[in-house]
């Protein structure tokens, strides 16, 4: 009985939680936290049940208020959308665990609105994942986007301005999407994705359909933060509160990537695919290059998000089985590592009072356990073997080789090296003591009294390190971060199980 209703159950749980948070949290913010945590835990459990039942029994289709699909709105849970639901609801559960202390430290007067908006954001995202109707997708897109603007506008002084910029851009993207859907509706007369897939071959390669495809892909690229239209992403992520970033950065752009897979299973027009592959490669390389020069830790991570969404995009556009597995595995990998990195960055911001990379010397001395989790996530980002990042990149590489696209093989390898540069720049500053050149220590002076020499680096390092007190994140913040960091290792070692789930959802190439 419950399995039939799972497609609608996940969004509805989030919607009820979004409405219940202000009611229950009116007197005490602790109740708001409990409601949000309970809601996201329930949604995660339902998502797991959905994934298991979808894998054993095949896709579940839910018809809202009993109207049959081509006319009514259809919600579909197939292996692909069930996988994405589990990823986003799991990530949310972790963020909700993390959020209690970090919100109290950062934005103590806006805790209840934050929880309500975050639940509404998840309502939109999960709706976008399960919907089988193009116009319904637009509605959920706008729900999640409006909640996202609100979440990103809570932060430092600059946050409202960057949120406004993102709002104008995101709303224009939604308008483009709606225009594209209008073209598709005019040429096919239907909005149901499965129905369009049947009708579309009749009007294949007609100009309106191609224009519609271009408009939809353009709008989704803006939502994904691909290279030429990525500027909103580092701006908003840097200025927003770290809990909001930890919530939005891992999952916000992935759902758009997932919808792109849906669009491509619907209709492919080869020239657009070629252009998108080039854009994805440009996104990978430009994101990595821009990440190298950023002084701010969160900004660097945001630019690496641009690079990583490029990997996912490249895996989708290469359209070989291996590349597809790589893309979906990278969605999981990127969600996990970005949660760890942004959540740790929030802890660093609270305990070290700065995010300037050059001022984070000795951060592992202050926060040893966070540093361990951070290091695991960095290894996953570069792609060092026991982590998931290694396997997702190896699948992407194999896919690119399978497609015989040697340029993209080179791009993936090159950007891995660039990731090594920007991440190990941070590691070499934060984890190691400054390097003393032995030749500079004594200046030989022939005449005159010797200049007073003070060994600044000595003062800066040893005594400075000893003076630093251990001040790690509070247990409720540390627990989800460490859990996901261990998860990165475990999922990496047992990636065969995940690949077997992913390959169930593979479309025909």
């Amino acid at each position: 009985m419950i399995t039939q209703n799972i497609p609608i159950l996940v969004p509805v749980i989030y919607l009820i939680a979004a409405a219940a948070v202000p009611l229950l949290g009116y007197k005490r913010t602790l109740f708001a936290f409990c409601t949000a945590l309970f809601g996201s835990a329930a949604a995660f459990c339902v998502g797991i049940i959905g994934l298991i039942s979808v894998i054993t029994n095949g896709p579940i289709s839910y018809h809202i208020s009993g109207w049959m699909p081509p006319i009514g709105i259809e919600l579909v849970l197939d292996p692909l959308s069930a996988f994405i639901i589990v990823v986003i609801s799991g990530s949310t559960l972790m963020v909700m665990m993390y959020s209690m202390n970090s919100l109290a430290q950062e934005i103590p007067d806006k805790i209840v609105p934050f929880y309500s908006l975050s639940m509404l954001f998840l309502f939109g995202l999960s709706g976008m994942t399960v919907t089988g109707d193009l116009f319904n997708f637009f509605v959920f897109l706008e729900i999640s986007a409006v909640a996202g603007y609100g979440l990103l506008a809570i932060g430092d002084r600059r946050a409202p301005f960057f949120a406004f910029r993102y709002l104008t851009l995101g709303t224009a993207a939604a308008a483009f999407y709606l225009l594209g859907v209008a073209f598709i509706f005019m040429s096919t007369g239907t909005l149901n994705i499965a129905d369009i897939a049947q009708v579309l071959p009749e009007v294949k390669d007609h100009p309106p359909v191609i224009i519609a495809l271009i408009l939809i892909i353009l709008s989704i690229s803006i939502k994904m933060g691909l290279f030429p239209v990525h500027q909103w992403l580092p701006d908003t992520y840097t200025s927003a509160s770290s809990t909001a970033t930890a919530l939005i950065a891992p999952i916000g752009t992935k759902v758009a990537a997932y919808f792109l897979i849906r669009i491509f299973t619907l209709y492919e027009y080869p020239p657009i695919i070629d252009i998108l592959s080039i854009v994805a490669a440009a996104s990978i390389i430009a994101g990595s290059l821009l990440a190298i020069v950023q002084p701010n830790l969160k900004r660097m991570l945001a630019y690496s998000s641009v690079a990583n969404i490029g990997y996912i995009m490249l895996g989708i556009t290469l359209a070989t089985p291996m590349a597809y597995i790589g893309a979906l595995l990278h969605i999981l990998n990127h969600t996990m590592m970005k949660f760890v990195l942004f959540a740790s960055a929030g802890g660093i911001m609270n305990n070290m009072k700065t995010l300037d990379i050059t001022k984070l010397i000795g951060f592992p001395t202050v926060m040893p356990l966070t540093a361990v989790a951070f290091l695991i996530a960095l290894f996953s980002m570069v792609g060092i073997p026991p982590t998931v990042g290694f396997f997702s990149k190896i699948y992407l590489l194999l896919g690119a080789i399978e497609a015989q696209e040697w340029f993209y093989v080179a791009a993936i390898v090159l950007s891995s090296l660039l990731a090594l540069v920007y991440l190990f720049r941070f590691i070499s500053i934060a984890f190691f003591r400054p390097y003393n050149k032995s030749d500079d220590k004594k200046i030989v002076q022939v005449d005159g009294p010797p200049l007073p020499y003070t060994d600044l680096s000595e003062n800066n390092t040893n005594k400075h390190f000893e003076a630093m007190k251990k001040n790690d994140m509070s247990p409720s913040m540390l627990f989800p971060v460490l859990l996901v960091a261990v998860g990165i290792l475990i999922f990496g070692i047992f990636n065969g199980y995940i690949v077997s789930i992913i390959s169930k959802s593979m479309p025909v190439f």
Binding site: Y149, F164, L167, T168, A172, A174, A175
Partner: protein, 124 residues
Amino acid sequence: MLEFIQDYYAFIFLALLFTIGLYGMMVKQNLVKKALGMAIVQATVIMFWIVSAYKDGAGIPIFDKRYGVENPEMYINPLPHAMMLTAVVVAIITFGLSLALIIAIYREYNTLHEPELLDQMKDI
């Protein structure tokens, strides 16, 4: 040429409007003008859907005894109108939110001119 304009005047008008909206969003430096450009773009898309429902010589989609249910070509397509009701709500919400953010920005910086705002943000 004249015939083309006569056939597609609605689309030509909407394309012009869309361009004006995008121009306002991208080129204007005042945040309120940007928000207004955004609203124009949204209104254009909504009107585009409404135009897509139009049929020559058809009436409003309410049951009419003179035509009955046997002549669907005598009614315009009601689906875009119903959907655009939702889109209008979305457009209002985003426009209201943008105005709320503009108020927050103005209280913080006392200006709405974008280069000035970026100038003031440099020192953080």
